[in-house]
Symmetry: D4
Subunit: 248 residues, 8 copies
């Protein structure tokens, strides 16, 4: 049910062509399907332009399979984040074309071909250990049809590595910067570019990084402007937001 269908239905109600009880039933079924444990948000694409995404962490394999099976009935692409290999092994039995990318822990099902944007998103990491979070961002952005360029391991302790890549980064339409420890890279990049920066703190580090707190606070208090921060290790959120901005 798209936006036009709903408008038509309402018009029919106005004209008396359809009684309110029937209309109610139709509309009631529109927004989501209730699987008991989960209300699959069918309406989400209409509302936000993007289909619902499955956050696998904390769900049972059984629940995930039921959700993914339900979504598979529609002609829609499916994205499931924070999945384990065990989850994928069950999902692929149901949907053979499902793919799993172990670094980013993403299961995806692509039925409809999405084009690539001409502008690209630059996804940058401070270190090697930040790559899995960066890949979650990259694959999410690509899933929604964005072109992505990856620049990994250019942290501030060897800033010439960044200088070397800065032109490529600068030409992106939006930049995702992934960093753990002190999380200083978004500040440095933010001071060098004229594009929005999405900063992703990671939990990489130990001791006084307190599970990513040091990077998170560092990015929030950055002296550079033009930076929006997402949750610690939230590669998906960064890729989603960057994609949204890139496609404006």
């Amino acid at each position: 049910m798209k936006q036009d269908d709903i408008k038509n239905l309402l018009e029919q109600v106005r004209k008396g062509e359809i009684d309110t009880d029937t209309a109610y039933e139709l509309l009631k079924e529109l927004p989501y399907t209730d699987l008991g444990h989960t209300k699959v948000d069918n309406h989400r694409e209409i509302r936000t332009g993007y289909p619902e995404v499955i956050f696998c962490q904390g769900k049972t394999i059984e629940q995930i399979c039921q959700i993914i099976q339900h979504m598979n009935k529609n002609e829609t692409n499916i994205l499931a984040t924070r999945a384990s290999k065990e989850m994928y092994d069950e999902v692929v039995k149901i949907i053979p074309q499902a793919e799993f990318e172990p670094l980013s822990k993403i299961i995806s099902v692509k039925k409809i071909q999405t084009g690539k944007t001409s502008t690209y998103i630059s996804i940058v990491t401070a270190g090697t250990s930040d790559i899995s979070v960066a890949e979650e961002a990259a694959i999410t952005a690509e899933f929604y049809g964005n072109a992505v360029k990856r620049v990994f391991d250019v942290g501030v302790a060897g800033i010439h590595r960044l200088t070397d890549k800065i032109d490529e980064i600068r030409k992106a339409r939006v930049i995702v910067v992934v960093a753990g420890m002190e999380g200083a890279l978004p500040s440095v990049i933010g001071g060098m570019v004229d594009k929005p920066v999405i900063a992703v703190p990671t939990s990489i580090g130990y001791g006084a990084n307190f599970g990513g707190l040091s990077a998170l606070l560092g990015m929030l208090t950055s002296c550079a402007s033009g930076i929006g921060v997402v949750n610690i290790d939230n590669g998906f959120g960064a890729g989603y937001l960057a994609g949204m901005i890139n496609k404006l």
Copy 2:
């Protein structure tokens, strides 16, 4: 000195029309002026597209006057945030056309007329007490030539007020949401729109809000997608980032 000037200079060096020492001196003076306490970043507009902004908090009135006086020599607009009335009273003696907006605590000097974008930024607050932060965002965005629409006091405890305004919000190109206390409004709006949301936690509240921590953590852990968070009470940062996205 704009991008072209620099390219010309480098070409002259290559051709031997200018010796390296002279070129060095010219370039050395290009990026900033050193006032002793402050290095005014003249180069910033070239690099990031935006002139330097003065963050007044923690600076003496004397320092602010010197910076603003220096910047005033160039044909550039000036923005100074977190200013007090006392600061403004001194600034206006030097630059009579300087303006002060007490709610947002912004001093601005506008010499060059900036146009207005056709698309607009929606700036939304949860409560009445969040308005001063929202105004900092709004005036910053407007300073950079963005059209802004304000929607105030539509917090989640009376969600029908939001529903009533949601269409206007949805039509914006980018949305800034300012909220204190539990900071739930960005989650609700994020789930209703297909536009990037910049979330600004405020320190409004008491007790377990711990100076804005509750709103900050709430926004970072939002179950909605497409949200970037800035520092507590950082209206400037939100307005700047939103403007950057709006003008992409």
Copy 3:
């Protein structure tokens, strides 16, 4: 020993029908039985209207079996929370009619049939992963004879799912709202209903949710009124309090 028995005993003391030493011994045994490691609170039902509940976490299987065996001597229903399958496997050897509900991790023994209240408690979750906490609340409330209606996965990122269910929620006598991440759902529901809301933050989430802190602070600083908060993941406490209110 019920309230009347105690009053009779005291009257006998006054009349000299029983000497104080004997009375003391009778009363000394009344309030609890000492198992060495545990003092089973026999008196609790008289005092608070509810028999003691066994919190299994942190106790050894042996201790739990001894407590449950002691309680089983009396004509009372038994509730044991945060139990594991291993604990249940030993308990059921002793008390064959003991039941185990794995989602809520509750062992219960029902000897006396409790009626159902005509009014009901609405138990609502923001997400699928919050269900196990919600079930702990629901089964606790049902154990004490309350009717319960479950509404799962209606979090604020897809608020139309909530709107659809709001009438059913509103008709409850008391509402339990279970949410992790930013914990915004109690604020939204609290602003829509005229019934007490018991808010349960869960540890569902990652990064800046810091083990449930984000949801906890969010619920405590809610801009909506009529909300009482319990500990993170404390489904039992919410179900107990909701039942107490429902039966007023």
Copy 4:
């Protein structure tokens, strides 16, 4: 506009007695009045059974006067919390019958006489310094027509003071317990009564109480059951929730 008015209006729409545009306009004005800085929630009483309350902290005196003046047009009682004497001095110029209670910092305007409930709320404090928070709870509850009995300074360090008052506390329909420092009183009372307990941590104390954190954590982790916690120093929230439960 009460619930019946809205039903009538909808019926008129259905019958074609009123066109949808007109109905829309009527309904649009129903839910709130927009004062620019504030959207006064006229609809709140219909939705939650209680008129909007003004939280004064963080608002300017001018804003408060405008809100209170607007609300005064309707035949409704007005409650404004966290007010200062300075705020009251301006309010009373506009509405001479406005009253101010300095201990609780509440401004109230009572136009409609509210009856008193036959059941009462017991409001208990651990210490003398907790009384101002307790009074905020008490006056809020009384404002909504609840009978209240106050029991002050019965903290756990001299538990016989509590024992002496426990019967009066026990006979209440719902109990509000206000305590700072270690916040142990709700646990002790919760173990003695069969009524819901609303626990209010206060910021009273110093050092390791960290602005009320010790009392807050203590109440949330209470070993007693039947306790709901509100924000630090949130007397209003406790009185409101207790009143809501008392009137069920």
Copy 5:
């Protein structure tokens, strides 16, 4: 080497009966034996009246065996806390009379019979799960020759259990109170007795107890007087301090 030996040695130096180099060597060896990884504090008993105690957590089994073997050469009792069964299995091979108490995780070797004090220490727990910490306190105190009486599971949620035992507690010379969750028991006992109370917060609980923080803060901010607090789960420290006070 006892206090008198040292005085004699110094006197010999003064009289020239022994040269300073020799005296230095003797004194150098006096205070500790260096095992490379560990400097066993032989001098500790002279200085503080108590022999060194081995804190096993974080040490390798090999290190523990070497330390215990060294100490075993002297005619001294040995106490090793936070030991595992694996550690004990190796220790007992070296010193057959070594004993292990699994609840308290203490290894002890008793060569010299210590008498029992006539006064006793009362060791009280709020719950059953706090017993292992209490046993660490009790066995430590007993190791140093103190009489101990245990009172377990008398937490504030069923305060009559405490009332019943309060006379026994009151007659102790010093009282150790062990409690997790909100840690309210020391406050209640502290208000009832005229003896020093050593409060031990435990990590028992979940959610907002944050690993024992709630109990720790509660005990530190207690409204009762005469309470000293030790580290979370530090049964040893409490038993040691209580024994020191008891033997004054």
Copy 6:
């Protein structure tokens, strides 16, 4: 009413010489006097051996005067801590022999002469700025008849100052150690003496001391044994506990 009076009364009840209602009234009045805002704990001396102490912070001058005036009717000494000069100025109008010690902020009224113990309490500070907290401890201990010796400014950064005083400290029956910043002094002293140490963290310091947190955590995690910790800046609590131990 002393312990014997109560026993007599109960005997009279048993013999029927007094009816239960009369006895109840007598006992009801025994434990405290209700001033409305405060329940003065008359019974406290019987129960804990010490009369009630007035904690002035957070109370109004009027409340303090009423409490002190009530206590003054009895033949008892009065101690009021955290008092201001303003409070004293009113108190002294009522009770001319009241004394005020500005460094410790203590008001005291001494009617009954208390002897001095032969053993003494050593009260030690790390720095000069810790003296006001130490004086609160010292004057409290002296108020209860304890001999006190003060040793100030012997912090660990110049440990020879401590070495010089260690004999005097060692001869005390109990030692109070007051330190801010890293709070290391109790560890050092605890390793040198065979007496109980009461450690008082102070809020002296800046930055990472976070209002006394660094000293508090340092003292709680001390590697020395025999240390009990009180709240940050809680000189009163330390003096009270030390006195209690000294008088055992």
Copy 7:
């Protein structure tokens, strides 16, 4: 009394030229002078090579004057940090040559001319507001005879300002880097130089900087090597440590 004096004294004791009591008295007076509230550490220069420094914050003006007056008797330079103008106004009455530097809040008395080192310390700030902390470091280092070069306002948001100054910084023997907000500058400089970096977090910032916590955690978790961190705003500590290293 210098090191040689002490050695002579000990030799006299050995030879019997002086009795032990007299020697004890001489040595007892050597290490410090006791002013009651303060033990002035006369011995400190022998032990650590530097005379004692007065930390004024938290001391009364009277105490400071007494300490400074006592120190003035010796032929030594005097340094007093965190002083106010009020403190200086009293000190200068006693010691006319005392100087006050308001930005760094340092009082100094220079009697002995200290040379300047040929190597220098580079003291760098990220922003203008960090200068007062940097000046505390600079003046401290200069007080101890170190050459200092200041580089202010070269924070990472405009990294070209740093690049311009990096050669001067690199040639220092040790570098002090002062930064607030995210505290990223030490990481960037640390990656560019082969000299030890002393990082000083400042409390400059707002919101999620939590009084300097963000900068502190950032510096501690820096991905660059060769960085030692001091307390928030501890310019003195940084200048002292840098001077110590510079003079090695």
Copy 8:
């Protein structure tokens, strides 16, 4: 490519002996080698005097092998910290002369013999459990050619053990002090020596040490001067910084 090579290259550009494109390519390859996941910083030795170090934690064994294999091509020593035995088992297959030190978890490859400095670094621990962190510091410092002397288990609870070793410590050029729990040892040593102290907090402890926070805060707020702090458990950082200072 060393510093001279680069200078030569630049001279060639100036003389026109080499065109800018070629020079660019040469310089582009100079600073690092891109392995995809990692940019090995070849330039680091030129810039900071030390070759890049591999931080193994968070990297896959495959990534580590690739990095180490790449670095092995050059005539450089290799240091890899926080390595596991599993990592080493793969590395040694590639580079047979690689060594693994299990206590410090360091893999090293030594191709070029580094001399030993004549001055030494003193590495001191408070306890036995701190040794693994101390060894990381020691082996790092030795790797870079520094002489090291270890002094283990001299914590403040038995300060005579320290006194005995203080002369050896004092003669070092720089001192690393490793301590967990309350972290008091750097303060005590800092007050006794005239050398820079690098303080390393460890996570050794439990309860209120909160993963090393107590030691970290204690060291940052130390009352002694001349102390720089590194991250919790950061033995590498301390050894690196100490070596840098030692070799000045």
